[in-house]
Each structure stands twice: as structure tokens, then as C-alpha cells.
């Protein structure tokens, strides 16, 4: 990713241009060209002339552009949308905007990794149990979005809330940026829709020693299975099943909606879990699910609920404490525009007001 001057010598040779001739063409001294070859990064003006003269993209001299520094295995999507190379590229571009933030952040240090060699239902339940333990959720309670965010913080996973571009049709995706495990979450995502994909991505992130760049259907199914078990413990699914068993369909749907509203999960999610554990169960809950979602906010609505910089910063600190800490450490070095980009503020708050308030809060503490 850093400048590789040796490539200049190789390319000039391939193009049949001597270094003296190259220096001449660029209107610089031979010594300057030698300095570049030895590792001095050319000024931007020279880099442009160099790449124009040798007919090559400037990125050629900065190898490993698509490197281990950033990995984006975007693979989950909303509804019937397909994951395309363009969508993956847009996700990667979004992650790249945070490269310097994480480059200058303290290393994440030791991070929890769950190693499970077998991807069977028993291992899924075992892994789910460990994760629920980390989230400190009661045994018979499903996880709501706050439990999820707490779990990610305990796992030292950085959550970044963003407005995803239209092309990125996903609720959340995980990646690694300079060894930090990061999960991007779309601000427009309803919290009920978010829990399951967030848990799915979390499981990918903590199993990242497996190499998260390659798509593996078995791994996807395993992560789905664990995510379902983490969100809905067996005890809870059994309680729900007992409550609805033998009732007419319309009553079942109403009861599922009541359970969902009281415990902060989607009707669809619990229905899927019932389908898995009690196979004859098969209700169409799409309408109830859509209606319930209207009663719950999106992530962005929670973050920006008061349209006030101070409240926003406090909400951010509460939902994503590691990201808050990383940004706080660099708050004095960042421009307003860059910070607004990191925080995806464009639709919500004035970047300068947020930056000023953030600095003030840090100064006071």
C-alpha cells in the first residue's frame, strides 16, 4: 500500500525508456528519479506526469491496493436483491474512507475469537450460548437491538453507522480495516430488521480466522443458525409456541405480534425460529411484520432523535463506544468534512456543530 519505487524502474524498462530519458521527459533530474526508485514518494504533480508518460494508473506504484488492510465480504442483501461486483466495490469504497481513521487508531489488541471446528446444530447452540453469556441476556429472553450493540462492544467489534448508497442493498456487513473488526450498519435499517443480520455479521467477524473473503454457503447457513439461536433462545421459542399452539391462525398471528412488540424483535424472526424448531408451523406473517415495524424506529432515527449535536454524540457513545473512542482520539486532527463523512451526517446534523460539541465534551471530561 505504500509507494514502491522499484516498480518504476521495472516499468520504465518494460516501456523501453531509460531512466535518463525518463528524467528528461519529466523535466526532473536523474537524481530525482533515483530518489523515487529508492523510495521517496513523488509530489502529486510528478506522480501525474509519471503516470501519464508511462501510461499507467498511479495506483500501480502503490501495490496491494486491494490488500489485507481492508476486506469486505459483503454477501447478505435485502430481499431479492443480488450481490453484484459493483455492490461489493461500493462497500469496499465506503470502508476505504475509514482507512486512515483505523490506521492511526490504537491497535485492537487481543480480541475474542470463537473457534468451532464443526458446523453442526450442536456447535451452533454451543456458540450461541457463549455469545448470549457475553451479552448477559436472561436465559428466556430474546435479544433486542441494545443487547446486540452491547454484545458487539464486548467482542471489541467497531460499529459504524452509515447511510448506505442505494447500490449497497444490505442492512449490515462486516469487514476488517487495519486489523480492526468493523461492522457497518445502514442508518435506514429498522431496528427489528437489524438484529438478525447484525448477529450474522458478528459471527462472521469473530470467526474471521477462517478467511472472510470467500463465500461459503455452509458457513452462511452456520452463521444463520447461530444468529437465530443467539437471538431466540430455545426457552423463549418454547414459551411462544406453547402460547400459540392450537389457536386459530389469526389469533396466532396476533399473539406473535404481541410477543414481538414486547420483546423488540420481528414477527418474521420468531416465525422462522418456530418453523425451524416446530416444523408443521408455517404461518404467513408478512403483514403483521410490516405493521409492527412501523412502531419501531430505524437506527438513524434513534441516533438523531433530537436533532441535537449533544444528544447525537451521547447516543453514538452509548451505541458504539469503541468507534466513539477511536474518533475522539483523532477529533483534533480531523476536518469538518471528513468527520461528517465518517459519521454520515449529511442528512441529519451540521458537521461543524457536531465537531465543536464533540471537542467541547472531550475538553470538559
Amino acid at each position: 500500500m505504500s509507494w514502491d519505487g522499484a516498480k518504476l524502474k521495472i516499468l520504465a524498462h518494460e516501456r523501453g525508456v531509460t531512466l535518463i530519458k525518463l528524467a528528461d521527459l519529466l523535466n526532473v533530474s536523474r537524481q530525482t528519479v533515483n530518489d523515487w526508485i529508492k523510495g521517496q514518494v513523488p509530489k502529486g504533480s510528478h506522480l501525474i506526469r509519471l503516470s501519464t508518460t508511462l501510461d499507467i494508473n498511479p495506483g500501480y506504484f502503490f501495490p496491494n491496493e486491494v490488500s489485507e488492510e481492508i476486506s469486505v465480504p459483503l454477501h447478505r442483501k435485502r430481499g431479492v436483491a443480488k450481490v453484484t461486483p459493483a455492490m461489493e466495490q461500493d462497500s469496499r469504497d465506503m470502508a476505504r474512507e475509514y482507512e486512515n481513521l483505523f490506521r492511526f487508531a490504537p491497535p485492537p489488541g487481543l480480541v475474542p475469537i470463537l473457534r468451532i471446528n464443526r458446523r453442526d446444530p450442536k456447535s451452533a447452540v454451543e456458540m450461541a450460548g457463549q455469545l448470549r453469556g457475553l451479552a448477559k441476556t436472561e436465559a428466556d429472553k430474546p435479544m433486542d437491538y441494545r443487547h446486540c450493540f452491547d454484545l458487539l462492544a464486548n467482542l471489541k467489534i467497531v460499529i459504524i453507522f452509515r447511510n448506505f448508497p442505494d447500490s449497497v442493498k444490505g442492512y449490515a456487513f462486516c469487514c476488517k480495516i487495519h486489523n480492526h473488526r468493523v461492522v457497518f450498519v445502514d442508518n435506514d435499517t429498522n431496528v427489528l430488521d437489524l438484529i438478525f443480520p447484525l448477529l450474522h455479521e458478528t459471527i462472521h467477524a469473530i470467526r474471521d480466522e477462517r478467511g472472510i473473503n470467500s463465500y461459503d454457503q455452509e458457513e452462511e447457513d452456520f452463521c444463520d443458525s447461530v444468529a437465530g439461536d443467539v437471538q431466540f433462545p430455545l426457552e423463549y421459542v418454547e414459551i411462544v409456541h406453547k402460547a400459540i399452539e392450537g389457536r386459530p391462525n389469526s389469533h396466532q398471528i396476533n399473539l406473535l405480534k404481541e410477543f414481538s412488540a414486547a420483546n423488540g424483535h420481528s414477527v418474521f424472526g420468531i416465525a422462522e425460529q418456530l418453523k425451524k424448531l416446530f416444523p408443521p408451523f408455517d404461518l404467513n406473517v408478512a403483514g403483521a411484520n410490516a405493521n409492527l415495524k412501523k412502531e419501531f424506529p430505524s437506527v438513524g432515527e434513534i441516533l438523531f432523535e433530537d436533532q441535537d449535536p449533544k444528544c447525537y454524540i451521547k447516543n453514538l457513545q452509548s451505541l458504539t463506544p469503541i468507534f466513539f473512542e477511536i474518533v475522539s482520539n483523532q477529533i483534533n486532527n480531523v476536518t469538518t468534512r471528513k468527520m461528517a463523512e465518517w459519521l454520515s451526517l449529511e442528512n441529519s446534523l451540521d458537521g461543524r456543530e457536531v465537531l465543536d460539541e464533540w471537542k467541547r465534551m472531550i475538553h470538559c471530561s
Binding site: L47, I48, P58, E65, D350
Partner: protein
Amino acid sequence: MLIRIVPGMFTGDQFQCRTIHQVRDEIFRTTKFSQKYPWRNQYKDKIRCLPNSFATDERLKRYFDAIHYLIRNVAINEKTGHPFDLSFVDKIFLSYALANGYRMTTGDQNLVDFALKEFKEEFKGNISPLGMLNRWIEKRLITWSDEVHSYLADWKINNEDPQPDRQIRKFKKLTHRNYPGS
């Protein structure tokens, strides 16, 4: 903030102003503009942009990539001692300015410092918003009135970047009025 004073700044050739689609989008999308400049919608059709040639213009793309890689390679701002880190729109904005030989108008000193450090040869410089107004007044392209003068006070209310002292002095000299902005 200039377009309220000079609505024809992008449409009249005499003003020699251009912007890019990404900046135009920001004006109508960001909270700062919607809250502080609610009047901006009146000028929506007056913000003419350069053709969106980013995908097809090799020279433009070369500048964008060079800026992108230099930032990734950790170019340091010697004035502040901190690494430059430009936003995506900043990078595109600067690419257009460099590739087309335009002067920029920005209050972002970090962006200007980066352009000066890396692209001294082709960078045509930065001109402050007040500098632009002074230039237009000087060339008699606009007439200064009480109404437009009152708009300048908003610059202070809205916490816009401070304008250079030299331009403030010039403004006083040209208009015989005190500069009310920030």
C-alpha cells in the same frame, strides 16, 4: 452563500464560475444547508454544473487516483503535523480543479494545504468567497445594495469560515461599508 447575492454566478459567463454535481448534491442534501440556508431551493435551477465526466475523463480519474493514493500513503500536513485526510467529495472537487486548471473557492485550509504541497505546479490557487465578491464588484459585474449587504450578516450568524483580512479591507474600500460577516 454567494449564490444568494449573485444568483447568476453559475449561469452568467462573465462570472466564470463552475461547480460539480457532488457539491450541488451536498447543497440540497446536507442539514447545514437545509437548516441554515432554507432559501437555497429558490436557486436550484441556477446551479449549473460541469459535465459529470468522472467515469470517462482519464485525466480527471488520474488526478483522483493520485490524490487518493497520496492520502493513503499518509501525506503529512507540515503546518499541523497531522496526516491529510480528505473526504470523497474533497478529492473529486480537487481533481476537477487540477485537471481543468480552475481556481478553487473553499474555506477548508487543509484542502488548500494539500493542493499546495502536492500539486504546486498546476494548482491555480484558492480564492475566498469575499475575494470573489470583491472581484465582481471591482469589475462592475454586480451592484452592491442594502439588500445584498444584509445577506452578508448571515455568514457570521451561520458560523461560516472567517474571510481574509486583506479581502475585508478591500471590501470596505470598494463598498464604503463595514463588512458584517465572519
